[in-house]
């Protein structure tokens, strides 16, 4: 029964992807991309990946749509269809699809416990998480401690993207564009105002819950940062973007991004100063297990701060750009 449900969700994915290619209006394509992300999150959940489903829903269906829509408001709305070169692209793509489908027949069947991917490292991680770290969520343990270097690199990638967007969109726009700092957003519409004001505190509270419960259930820094950024973006939609910039001004956002990235690096350096290796959290406390837990708590806080600040800076960079009349 669950197989039929899984098949249905996958077929919806293919239909949505084909619809995205064929539509000409870019707003429709962006909305369909958001639906595609949500379907992808549902598929991930059916395949037992709870953390990944939460991240894809928060980041893919939420933040990506907002960034796309703000970029579309600054550029064009529909695309031009062109006829040349389509047949050759179709042939290339069809050959590639056939090759990949032929190659997938060699894969182990879905869910086989004897597949090579389940043999070497994964049982070691599953056995040693209670021994070293003693909390339930294995994915957070691997992300924070066993593979901590990858997460450090990822925080710096988010930081670099934020700085890059601020550089690219920090240039003066050409003439003839206006920016209305008193744009009121949806202030004159009563229903979104009331519902939004009811929901924003709970969204931020849920973001904090996800942040601190990352060790006990699906959650962690990335999802929490995206959720809190969504709450502030909802406030910006309701009251106008200038009001959101007054609530969390640009120096605070920069402080969050830089502080988050530096907190992660500082925890690593602190471990070196206390006698261990870089990012070896066991030396942070007298008991190695509670040292690991303290280390993971601190770096998840750093990740959450960095992701929240970076996404909000990117949103403000797009939304505050003067647009043509």
């Amino acid at each position: 029964m669950i197989i039929l449900f899984g098949l249905f969700l996958l077929s919806l994915l293919v239909i949505t992807a084909l619809a995205i290619v064929r539509t000409e209006n870019l707003f429709v394509a962006v909305m369909l991309t958001s639906i595609f992300s949500l379907l992808m999150a549902a598929n991930f959940f059916v395949l037992d990946a709870a953390d990944v489903a939460l991240t894809e829903a928060a980041v893919g269906a939420g933040i990506t749509t907002v960034i796309f829509l703000s970029a579309l408001a600054l550029t064009a709305e529909s695309e031009k269809t062109v006829q040349t070169g389509k047949r050759m692209a179709l042939v290339v793509v069809a050959v590639l699809a056939t090759l990949i489908i032929y190659a997938t027949f060699d894969k182990p069947r879905l869910g086989d416990p004897e597949a090579p991917v389940h043999q070497h490292l994964a049982p070691w991680y599953l056995e040693n998480t209670p021994v070293y770290m003693d909390f339930p969520n294995v994915v957070t343990a691997i992300l924070g401690s066993f593979r901590g270097y990858d997460t450090l690199g990822e925080v710096f990638v988010v930081f670099a993207a934020c700085i890059g967007v601020l550089f690219i969109l920090g240039v003066k726009p050409p003439e003839g564009r206006i920016y209305d700092p008193h744009a009121s957003g949806l202030r004159h519409h009563l229903i979104p105002q009331v519902v939004g004001r009811l929901l924003i505190p709970f969204v931020v509270l849920f973001g904090l819950y996800v942040q601190f419960h990352g060790e006990y259930g699906p959650g962690g820094g990335f999802q929490a940062g995206a959720l809190i950024a969504s709450g502030v973006i909802l406030y910006a939609l309701l009251e106008g973007e200038a009001a959101a910039l007054r609530a969390l001004p640009q120096p605070v956002l920069m402080g969050l991004v830089i502080g988050g990235a530096c907190l992660y690096g500082a925890v690593g350096l602190l471990c070196m100063l206390l006698g261990g290796n870089f990012l070896e959290y066991s030396v942070l406390s007298s008991n190695t297990v509670s040292g690991q837990q303290l280390g993971i708590l601190l770096i998840e806080a750093g990740v959450g701060m960095a992701v929240c600040g970076a996404l909000l800076s990117i949103f403000h960079a797009f939304a505050a750009r003067p647009r043509r009349l």
Binding site: T23, N25, V28, L186, H189, I191, P192, V195, L198, L199, F202
Partner: protein, 107 residues
Amino acid sequence: MIDTAVDILSWMLLFLGGAFVIIGGLGALRLPNFYTRLHAASLTETMATILIFAGMILQAGLSLAALKLAAIMLFLLLTAPTASYALANAALQSGMRPEARNRDETL
């Protein structure tokens, strides 16, 4: 005895909720105008939400999961009709008038 009664009741609620989803989907495809289609689609977000979540809460019994389901239902009931309102308002402000006779072009 009471267990099977609760089970049957929850199955009936889930079926009814599914039926309302299908009705709403059919309406969103077949009705002529944008506003009537939006009205049909809003059927899924209120009636079907309440029925399906009531069915699931009965299946979960008296536990923390039932409280979480009730919270999610409240959240959905707050946000989805607001989204429909925003859509209808945006259509009205951009000039689409609610007439019963013309058939909208699809995008």
